[in-house]
Structure formats: C-alpha cells, structure tokens
Amino acid sequence: MTFNIIVLAKQVPDTRNVGKDAMKADGTVNRGALPAIFNPEDLNALEQALGIKDQYPGTKITVLTMGPARAAEILREGLFRGADDGVLLTDRAFAGADTLATSYALAMAVKKIGDFDIIISGRQAIDGDTAQVGPQVAEKLGIPQVTYAEAIESIDRKRARVKRRLENGVEVVESPLPLLVTVNGSARTCRPRNAKFLQKYKHAKTVTERQVENLDYIDLYSSRPYLNLTEWSVADVNADPVQCGLSGSPTKVKKIENVVFQAKESKRLTDDDTELEDLIKELIANHTIG
C-alpha cells in the first residue's frame, strides 16, 4: 500500500523573533530584518507525512508552496528531510492574495498535481495566525477536512483516523480519503535534515533560480531530473487571474495604524526596599491586594 501525499508549506518571516529593527523609522515593517523560515506548524505537517512514508515505503510526498522565487528554499528543506518532490507556485499575479485567493491558487495547483490521497497542511502560519487556508483548500476541492490534528493515527486505502487536540480535550475522528488534515504545533516535531538527502538535493533548483544564478550545468539538470524543482505560474495551473492575488481577495486592508497606546502617567520605582514596601502598603490600603 502506498499513498500520494501533498504537504502545503509556507515560507514566513520569523515573527517570533521580532527585534527592535523590525520596524522602520516611518513605522512600516522592515521585512528584510526578519529571517524567512519554514512555517513551524508546516514542519509538523511534513513530519506526519514522513511518518506515513516510513510505514508505507513507496509513498510519494510532494511539498507545495506559493510564494516569491526564494520560497523554493522551502521545497529544498522538504527534500532534505525526506520529501520526494516540490512545486513552487509563483507569479506576480498571485501577489497580495488574502486567504481565499491563496486557497484558490493552491487548490488549482493540487488539481494539476492530480492524484492525491491526503493533503496535509499546518494549522496556521505565524505571519497572520489565520488558520484559514487549510479548510478553504479542502472546501475548494470538495473534500472533508480534519483540523487541529495531533497525529494521523492510521490510514488505509479508504480512510484515515486522526487524533485532534481541542481546547479542553482530545477527539479521534475517522474520515474517508481523499482528505485534508491541518496539523497542530503539539504534534510530533519534524525530524532533522538527512545527510544523504542533503547531498542528493543540494543543487535542486527552480528554473528561475537557475537563470538568476546563471547555472548552466545543463548536463547536471538533464541527467538528474530530480534536481529540477517544478515552478508553475497562474497559466500553468489553469487559474483564472481574476480570482488570484489582490483582485481575487474579498478582504482589503483599509488602513494600517501604528499602535498608539493610551499612555498613562506611570509612577516610576526602583528595586529599592523602601520603595517596594511603600508600594505594597499602598496596594493593601486601597484594597487592590490583601
């Protein structure tokens, strides 16, 4: 028994390590100051796919990502950890997409890939924390979804059994295939890169990367087809340009505001004993504590 698995993965700015230089003087976000990483929960998603492949060798894992040219890094990262193939969906026309336009584009790419049993995505991407793209891709493909998954416990030709992590408990559900699963950060962490795959795929590139870097080892790429990372445009996946990117996004950003906190007149204290004791006395006296 083998399966065809598609993992949805996104390259995101590392918003968990936002430093002081993340904001420019004019108050806009300095994306350049943030390292781009593999969205953490998408690594949990990849690990679930790899787990199935461990159990059913011959299973094929394709990592699918939509983003700018550099998002091909995500595909290589996936290959280094055990994925079999990578597809980059990239086109100017995809820019400015909200979750609905993103899921439309991803669903069109999934249709182009064609044969799949299960799609695994992260629960949410840390750049927006919306958790919408997974369910929306499932809806667009007309397949069931299981969100907040902690483990794909078992799978056969017909169905999968999935453990979900709820706010206050766990739930085990069974769904027929094909199915889309979104995976929680509480799931097993992803295995590290594998030295053998690193060696094998380190020169894997998209067409654009080969052009930009002027790599003309034509021989290398024709003798080792697995080094060619697939790159698709709007036209390649037969997508309607109007439904992509900004024009396909029902939500618009009306404005972005810098946060102005309602600054208070604060009392300033040090760690001096008398000051701290006075504070405690004051809080007790006005019944805030005690």
Binding site: V18, M23, P144, V173, V253, V259, K264, I289
Partner: protein, 339 residues
C-alpha cells in the same frame, strides 16, 4: 434580510460564553445598522436555547435540531450555514475564534466566496471610499486586528462580498444582557433540507473533554511572566508571588513558546483576554498582541529591567529592576504588611 448573524457554539445544550459575547456585540452593530440580530443554533438538546439567548437581544433564532449535529462536525454545520445564508443574505456573520469557529468559518467563507477576518480585537461600523473607482461604501464592518509581529493594527474591510465574516476570541467582547425579558422569534428548520447524507462521512470515534485547571480569565489578580523571566525554574518566583496574593499565573506567548509556561496561560490576541483588578507583568516587553489581551486591567504593574519597555507606557507602576530581585522583596513585604 441583510441582518447580523451570530453562530452559536453549543456544548451539551449550553451556549458558549464567546457566543453570548458576540450576541452582545452583534446587538450593538444591529442597532447601528438598523437591522435585526439573528442567531443560529444547530445541535441536540436545544430546549433551553431561547432562554439562554433572547436576553442578549436576539430577534430571531434559527433552530436546527438533529442528534447527528452534536457534537459538532465540519460538513453538516457548513451546509446549514451556507444554505441558510444563501436564503437570508446576512450582511455580517460573527463566530468565536475557537476550534469550532476556526474550523467552520473558513469553510463557509470559501463556499460563499466571502472574506473572513480571524481574531478581531475590535469591530466597528464605518464608511469607505474607493478613490480609484470613485465609489463610496456606507456601513461597512471594520474588522480590526493587530497584524504582523506587533506594532501595527490592520483595519480590514470586505467592500463587495457578503456576509462580512469575522471571528473573535473569547473574552475580547463583553457580554451584557440587553433585557432579561426580551423575546424574539424562533424559526425551526427542517434539517434534511439543508444537510445531505454525504455530510456525515466524518465520524467521531472518541471524545474526551476535561475542564481546564487554569482559570485566569476570572482571576482578579494575575501575575504574568514573559521571556524575560528566563527559565521555567524562574517562573516558580511568579507562582510564589501568585500564591501569597491569591492570584493566577499568566504568560506571554514568548514565554509559552520557550516552554516556561503552559499554553492555557497565554494572554493576548492569540491567548486569553483578561480584565483583572491587578495585572503584574514580569519581564514582558509589551508587544501589541500581548497588550491586546490585558490593557483593560484596572491596575498594571510592570517589572522590567529595561526602563524603555513598551509595556511601561500603559503601566500605572513601573518597577525598573530584575525580577529575581524584585519579586522576592514584594513577597517579603506583602507577608510583613498584610493582615
């Protein structure tokens, strides 16, 4: 037609807090728009729903009774909303940013081709001018949420698509009874007209719910720790202080991500929203996502070794110093001066 709808989350016949909070917000929005507030209840054991919901000002409750609708599964609830909305054409639909709301909302929005904004911290009605098209939109829902790593707040609108959908976390809006005797209309729907047998393909094999041990939302005093606390061991200092004060311990996301505290303790946009009498922020810098969840605390004390930490601007008392030094002293002087 064109009313404000709230999807009710129901566990064992009881409507979730977050849904009541959204009804309160929905009532305000409906008043501003001069339209009705409608609620959707789908599940089993719905006998007391009216009593629970009408006091919050719902004008209509759409009831879908069927054992198979409880516990919640995605597909049948999606079909109910999608088919109901095709008929009723709501202008606004609100849901909790809970596991259910965040499973259902995107599925429904995708099926209707309407936009959805997750985790809003504020909802307002206002107008919008599309300069290029020379078009003015009146009475849009501003879906306001912090975005991108802090420091900015985005105002999101859906000019052309309906319903305008938004999810909101529990505790962000305040629930308030409009009128204990308010009576609306109950509309009971035939479930089979909305749901197809194919919607029941996903089955729940096993389900364990446990009551959460932590109850920060209702605690009058919160001692909250951030990344600056430094380690899980150092968090013990916060528990010690919380113990003597009769407080709960909260945490920033950075502290939770670093494994210093459990996820249930996270306060902020993607955690719990709290409004305690006293909030003591220890080693928390105060990014917008954190502040969004605690700024309405009556009194805020910040303990931070950086005098310029952003949280200090909203604090009533700023103690500049190391938590390792300050907290033991606070404990000591509390013990000395109390009773």
């Amino acid at each position: 037609m064109n009313n404000v709808f709230v999807y009710l989350e129901i566990e064992d016949g009881t409507v979730a807090e977050v849904s009541l909070e959204l009804l309160t917000k929905g009532r305000t929005l409906a008043n501003q728009l001069g339209c009705k507030l409608e609620a959707i209840a789908a599940g089993a054991k719905l006998d007391t729903i009216e009593k629970q919901v009408f006091p919050y000002g719902a004008d209509v409750i759409h009831v879908f009774k069927d054992k198979r609708l409880s516990p919640y599964t995605t597909l049948p609830h999606t079909s109910i909303l999608v088919n109901l909305f095709k008929k009723e054409k709501p202008q606004i639909c609100l849901m909790g940013a809970t596991i259910i709301g965040r499973d259902l909302g995107p599925r429904v929005s995708s099926a209707l081709g309407s936009g959805l904004t997750a985790d809003c911290t504020s909802l307002e009605i206002g107008s919008h001018e599309e300069k290029k098209a020379g078009k003015v939109y009146e009475n849009l829902l501003y879906q306001i949420r912090p975005a991108f790593g802090g420091n900015i707040v985005a105002w999101i609108i859906n000019p052309d698509c309906r319903p305008q959908m938004a999810t909101v976390r529990e505790g962000v809006m305040k629930k308030e009874i409009t009128d204990p005797n308010y009576k609306g209309e109950v509309v009971e729907h035939e479930v089979k007209n909305y749901v197809s047998p194919g919607d029941f393909v996903v089955s729940i094999i096993d389900r364990h719910l446990e009551k959460s041990k932590v109850n920060i939302k209702n605690s009058p005093i919160i001692v909250s720790g951030g990344y600056g606390v430094g380690s899980k061991e150092n968090f013990q200092l916060l528990y010690d202080l919380a113990n003597v004060l009769g407080a709960e311990v909260g945490a920033s996301r950075a502290a939770v991500d670093a494994g210093f505290a459990e996820h249930e303790r996270q306060i902020g946009q993607t955690g719990v929203t709290v409004r305690p009498k006293l909030y003591i922020a220890c080693g928390i810098s105060g990014q917008i996502q954190h502040i969004a969840g605690m700024q309405e605390s009556s009194l805020i004390i910040s303990i931070n070794n950086d005098p310029g930490a952003p949280i200090n601007t909203i604090a009533d008392y700023v103690i500049t110093g190391d938590i390792e030094k300050v907290i033991p002293k606070l404990i000591k002087y509390y013990k000395k001066n109390s009773k």
